[in-house]
Amino acid sequence: MSHRIIIGLEVHVQLLTKTKLFCGCSTQFGLPPNSATCPVCCGMPGTLPVMNRQAFRLSIEAAVALNCTIAPFTKWDRKNYFYPDLPKNYQISQYDLPFSSNGSLEIETSAGSRTIGIIRAHLEEDAGKMLHDENAGRNDSLVDLNRTGTPLLEIVSQPEMETAEEAKAYLEAIRLLLREIGVSDCEMQEGSLRCDANVNLHVAQPDGSFVATPIIEVKNLNTIRGVERALNYEVDRQAAELERNLESGYWQIDTSRPGKFRDYNIVPIAERRADGTLRPVSKATAGWDERIGRTEVQRRKEEASDYRYFPEPDLVPVTVDETLLAQIRQELGELPAAQNARLQSQYGLTAYDAGVLSRQGRAFVAYFEIVANRCGDAKEACNWIINDLLSTLNERKLDIKLCPLPAESLGDLIREIKAIGLNKQRAREVYADMIDTGESVKQVIDRKGFKPVTDDNQLLELVRKAIAANSKAVADFKKGKTKAADAIKGFVMRETKGMANTETVQRLLLEELAKV
C-alpha cells in the first residue's frame, strides 16, 4: 500500500536574553543548580511576573524572519498543570492570541527547495529540570529551577513535511535563521533548541481515499539527526502496525467518521473493544531512544489534557506598533533564503553552491562576496572557499570570523593563479604558505620562485626532451594507452618545477606525439 507521510514539528527555542522572561535571573547555561533563581521564578507567594522587553523583541524578530503576521495586540495566558519543575503549577504562555501567526520557512532538500507553512509562534516561560538521584539505594527526585522562566519561543509548523529528510531540513533552516539573526544559539545538546514531531501516515485505498493512522507525537529528540532517524523509524513502525492490526481485526477502518485533508478524503481507524464496540484510536506520545534507535509508544490518552487556559491577570496585554515592526524589518538584514536566491542571480552560482554558502551563515557569505569581487571570478571563488577554505576552518575548528586568511588575500591569490597560470598543486602550496606566514600572494610566489614558464619554444624543447627520454611511454601511447601521455607530461612538469602551463604542455605534447 502506498502512503503519504504527514509530519508537523513543534520547535522550542530559548532566546538569547541575559535574563529570564519574567524576572532578573541569569539565563546562563551550566550554573550550579538553583543558583540562578529568585522569589519570582520560584513562584513564591506574593511575587509577580514582569515581562522582559528584550525577550519580546527577539521573539518578534524571529517571527518577522519567519514571515509571520505580527498581531497588533497580544496577551498572556496561564496553562495549568501540576508538575514539580513548574513551581507555580501553571506556565505563563500564550493561548488564543499569540503574538504571531501564519508564517513560512523555505527548506532545501536533495529534491530541491520547498516552503513549509508555520501556524504560529508564541512566547512562553520554560520549566525547570528534574534530576532523579538513584545512587546508593536512594530514590530522590531533585528539582533545579535555573531554567525555570527562561524565555522560550514555540514555533508550530503546518503538518506539511512529507519526509524525514524534510523535517531535518526544516530544523536546519530554523537553526540557521535564528542563529543568523541572533535570536537563539539553537544548541540542541544544551536544550536551547528542542523539537517534538507529530507524524502519521495516510495510506492509499483502492477507492482513492486514504486511511489515516493515529498521530504519534515523538518526544525526546535531542539531535537533528535523531529527528530524522526517529521519523524514519516511526513511519515504518506505523505502516507495519496498521497492516498487522487490520489483518488481526483489532483495528478497523472507521468509515463512519470521514474527514478531509488538503484536497483528499481520509478515514480514521477505530479499535475493537472487548465488548465488540468500536472506539476511535486517539493520539499518543512516543519517546525516541537514541541508543537503540527505536520509538517507544506510551499509553494512549483517552482524552486530551485539559490545561484550563485563562488570561494571565498579573500581566497586561502587549501592543506592537508599526514603527517597531518597520525598525525590526530594517535591522534584520538579508535572511538565508533571500541570500541564497541572490547568490544565484548576482553571482551565477548553482543552487547547490549557493546553498552551501548560505548555510554557513552571513559572515561566510560576506567573505565569499569579498573574494568573488576581488578576483572577478565568482565560480572560482566559490570553489576555493567550499573546497579549501572550509576544510581549513574545519580542521582548525575556526569560525569564519577568525579565518587566518583575509578574504582580500584569497581574492588576490585566485586572481594571481589565473594571471600566471599557476597549477592547482602549486596554488595550494601558496595558499598554505600564505596562511602560515601571513604574507601576500606576491611575496610567497617570489620567495618560492614560482615563475611560470610561458615561453612556447622553451616548453616545446622540454616536450621533445621528454618524448626522447620516455620511449616506453611513447610506445604505450602509440598502442592506444592515452594515459601514458601523463607520464611524459609529468616529466615536463618536474623539469619546470610545476611552473609550466598544463594546457600548453598538453597541446604541445599531443602535437609532438602525433609526429612521432
Partner: protein, 484 residues
C-alpha cells in the same frame, strides 16, 4: 492617647509631647489587654516593635528628616509579606512560611517610618466575609463580642476599632476592606485597581485584589493611601500615574456635587434600620447642597455570580503552587508525588478555600469555560459599563456598604450563599476596578456600627475622599470608640 488619630499622633510627636516609643508601648499594652477578647493578631513581636520605635526616636533626636508616618503603628493583614516575618494568609498551608522580601506597601511604610506592629487575622487566603475561615482563630467584633468583625480583613478592622493600632492595611477582593470597616465602625478604603502595587500581596483573585487602609477617619485613610499608592515596576498592573496629595485637598468641599443613588442598592435583603441611616446620610449631603440623582446599575444583580466565577478561577491558579514541593505545608506520610501533593493540599487548605478552588477549576474546565468563566468576563465588562455610564452623570455613588450590621459568629458558616450575599453592594466595585470607601454613618439599636459606601470613578480617590470628608465633618459617628 489611644483615642487619637494617626494625624494627631504625628502632631504630638512633632511637638515633643509624645515619642514613638511611648506610642508603641501604649499600643502594645492595649493590645495585650484586649487581645484575649478580640483576637485580631496572628503575630506580634514586641521587641521588634519597640526597636523600630526607638530607632525613629533616635533619628528624630539627631534631627534627621522623618517619613510621613513616623512613629505611627500600622497593623498588616497577614496576606502581606514582611521580610523575615511569618506570613500565613490565615492558612495552615503557610503556617511556617517566612518570605525573604517585603511587599511593596511594606517597603513604602518603612520608608515613611511607620512602626509595623504586627500581622492580623483574616479569612484563609482572604476568602470569606467574617474572618471565621482563618485556620488559627476567630476574631471578635470590638462592638459585640459574639459578632464577627466582617471579613476577610476582619483582623485589621478589629485592631483599629479596638484601639490596638491607629492604622492598618487590609485587602479588598470583593469588599474585604469596606465590609469589615462598616462592621467595625471605622473608615476603610479600597483604591482603584492598579493604584497600589500588589507586589508581596499573596494573591487570591489577581484581577480584583487591592490593598487599602483602615483608619478612624478619612484624613488618616487619605494619609495612609498617600504613603502606599504609586507606581511599582514589579507589578505590571500597577498604573504609572501621579499620586495626588489626598490630605491637602481633603477639606475642600466638592461643589457642585451630584450623588448617584442606585435603586439596586436598596432592594430586598437590606436591613430597614441600615436603609434609614443611609437615607439620613443622603439628607446630610442634600443639606450641604448636593444633588441626589437616581441612577441605574442594571447588571449589579449579576455581580455576585460573576465574582464567584472570576475570583475563583484566578484563585484556582494562584493557589496551585501550594503543593508541598517548594514551600508551605508538606504531608508527613505519603506514597509518591501525586499522593504527596494531594495530602499536602488536603491537610493544608480549609473548607472554603477548597470549595473555591473546585468552583474555579470547574469554571475553567473544558466544556464549561464558555458557559461560566468566559461568560462571566463578558458580564464583568457590562458591569464596568454600568459604572462608566453612571459616572458620566454623577460624581459619586452612595449607598449602604453591607445589607446588615455585623452578624453573629457561626450564624452563616453553614450557609455559604448567605455569607456571599454580605458582599452584595461591595463586589461590583472590584469587578469594575473602581475605588470605594466605607465611612461610619450610624449605629443600630443593638449598638452595632453601620457603614456608608461611597464609590467613585477610576482614580477619583481624591474626589471620593473629599465627599466622604464632607459628611464626616457634619457627623460624629467616626469619633465613637468601641469599649472592648
Amino acid at each position: 492617647m489611644l483615642n487619637l488619630t494617626a494625624t494627631e499622633l504625628l502632631q504630638k510627636q512633632a511637638a515633643g509631647d509624645l515619642t514613638a516609643e511611648t506610642i508603641a508601648l501604649a499600643y502594645l499594652q492595649r493590645l495585650r489587654e484586649t487581645e484575649p477578647r478580640v483576637q485580631a493578631f496572628l503575630t506580634v513581636d514586641d521587641a521588634d516593635v519597640l526597636a523600630q520605635a526607638k530607632a525613629i526616636d533616635a533619628r528624630r533626636r539627631r534631627g534627621e528628616p522623618l517619613g510621613r508616618l513616623a512613629g505611627v503603628p500600622v497593623a498588616l493583614k497577614d496576606v502581606l509579606c514582611v521580610k523575615g516575618q511569618r506570613t500565613t494568609c490565615g492558612s495552615k498551608i503557610l503556617r511556617n512560611f517566612v518570605p525573604p522580601y517585603d511587599a511593596h506597601v511594606v517597603t513604602q511604610l518603612r520608608a515613611a517610618d511607620a512602626v509595623l506592629i504586627g500581622k492580623t487575622n483574616c479569612d484563609e487566603f482572604a476568602m470569606g466575609s467574617s474572618t471565621e475561615n482563618s485556620a488559627y482563630q476567630i476574631t471578635h467584633n470590638p462592638w459585640g463580642h459574639e459578632r464577627t468583625p466582617g471579613g476577610s480583613s476582619g483582623g485589621s478592622a478589629a485592631a483599629v476599632a479596638a484601639g490596638q493600632a491607629p492604622l492598618s492595611l487590609g485587602t479588598d477582593t470583593g469588599g474585604s476592606i469596606r465590609q469589615p470597616a462598616s462592621f467595625c465602625g471605622i473608615v476603610g478604603l479600597k483604591p482603584t485597581y492598579g493604584r497600589v502595587s500588589r507586589f508581596g500581596l499573596v494573591a487570591y483573585g489577581s484581577s480584583l485584589d487591592q490593598i487599602g487602609p483602615f483608619a478612624h477617619d478619612t484624613r488618616d485613610a487619605a494619609l495612609l493611601l498617600e504613603v502606599i499608592a504609586g507606581h511599582d515596576p514589579r507589578d505590571s498592573t500597577c498604573v504609572n500615574q501621579t499620586v495626588p496629595e489626598y490630605t491637602r485637598m481633603l477639606d475642600q468641599k466638592l461643589a457642585p456635587l451630584t450623588i448617584g443613588v442606585a435603586n439596586e442598592y436598596f432592594g430586598e435583603g437590606l436591613d430597614p434600620e441600615i436603609e434609614q441611616f443611609v437615607r439620613d446620610a443622603l439628607k446630610v449631603y442634600e443639606r450641604l447642597g448636593a444633588t441626589i440623582k437616581p441612577i441605574a446599575l442594571p447588571h449589579s444583580p449579576y455581580s455576585i455570580a460573576t465574582y464567584y466565577l472570576v475570583a475563583t478561577a484566578e484563585a484556582s491558579g494562584n493557589l496551585a503552587r501550594y503543593d508541598g514541593v517548594h514551600f508551605g505545608h508538606r504531608a508527613e506520610t505519603f506514597t509518591g508525588l501525586i499522593d504527596m501533593m494531594k495530602k499536602s493540599r488536603g491537610e493544608g487548605f480549609g473548607t472554603e478555600v477548597k470549595r473555591r478552588i473546585m468552583l474555579g477549576t470547574y469554571a475553567l474546565s473544558s466544556g464549561y469555560i464558555d458557559a461560566y468563566y468566559l461568560k462571566a468576563l463578558k458580564v464583568r465588562r457590562l458591569i464596568r459599563q454600568d459604572f462608566d455610564r453612571a459616572f458620566a452623570d454623577c460624581d459619586v455613588i452612595v449607598g449602604p456598604t453591607s445589607p446588615t450590621a455585623a452578624f453573629k459568629i457561626g450564624e452563616k458558616v453553614s450557609d455559604p450563599l448567605a455569607m456571599y450575599l454580605s458582599d452584595i453592594y461591595t463586589i461590583s466595585a472590584n469587578l469594575a476596578g473602581i475605588p470605594g470607601i466605607s465611612v461610619p454613618c450610624g449605629f443600630t439599636k443593638a449598638g452595632l456600627p453601620i457603614g456608608l459606601q461611597i464609590l467613585a470613578a477610576p482614580f477619583a480617590e481624591e474626589k471620593m475622599l473629599r465627599v466622604a470628608h464632607m459628611y464626616e465633618r457634619e457627623t460624629a459617628w467616626h469619633t465613637r470608640r468601641a469599649g472592648v
